[in-house]
Symmetry: C2
Subunit: 124 residues, 2 copies
């Protein structure tokens, strides 16, 4: 089996609620996590909700990083999808956990695109 | 326990390889899947890779939809994250599966943001 991607899901509880509602801070955190770990950013969208909460998606050449925050619950859902070996999603995950000061974090990695290795072409 | 979000992961194998490399088609498919199922689009990024493959991320008021395609393997990874009841991620998933003609699709739903219900405030 060959796997094309790694998808890291972060359940981040007991975070700093002020930071979870701070769009410029979260934007810097997500872009920095991508850049520091070697990803190539190709686009970004960040949106502030009223009365609170931020959504951010960062498209990278190696796939994506997303964050959705609920400051009222001290909770953020983050996911980091990567393909190739250039970018380590768990390293980016740890930078994000530290930045938003989650005291109760759960990191799950899911292998994506597990494809059967094609049979060798024998001609015909 | 209260759950804040639903995250639907699609492993789409044996797709139409031509469609997987067609950025305008995939952009229309993803935006249509969002709109048809009641999501509110707040931004989008689509990127064509060379020699092949497309990445698309759509930020919605209800969270996000992402697609990453590998036409050379007939494979696409899609994920749809939603919060609230206004938007049904499985309905959007079925529209995407049909559009890219996956003959071997696997849909997994993960509950995100399962938080303990806070104890009633009794004053103090």
């Amino acid at each position: 089996m060959e796997a094309l991607g790694r998808h890291v899901l972060l359940e981040l509880r007991d975070c700093n609620a002020v930071k979870l509602d701070d769009l410029p801070f979260l934007r810097h955190t997500m872009l920095n996590a991508a850049e520091e770990t070697g990803a190539t950013i190709i686009g970004e969208i960040f949106h502030q909700f009223a009365p609170q909460g931020v959504t951010g998606v960062v498209a990278i050449a190696e796939s994506h990083l997303c964050i959705h925050t609920w400051p009222e619950f001290g909770y953020a859902a983050v996911d980091i999808f990567t393909c190739g070996a250039a970018f380590d999603p768990t390293e980016a995950a740890h930078l994000i956990v530290a930045a938003i000061e989650s005291k109760d974090s759960e990191i799950t990695e899911i292998i994506r695109g597990q494809l059967p290795v094609p049979s060798p072409v024998t001609g015909g």
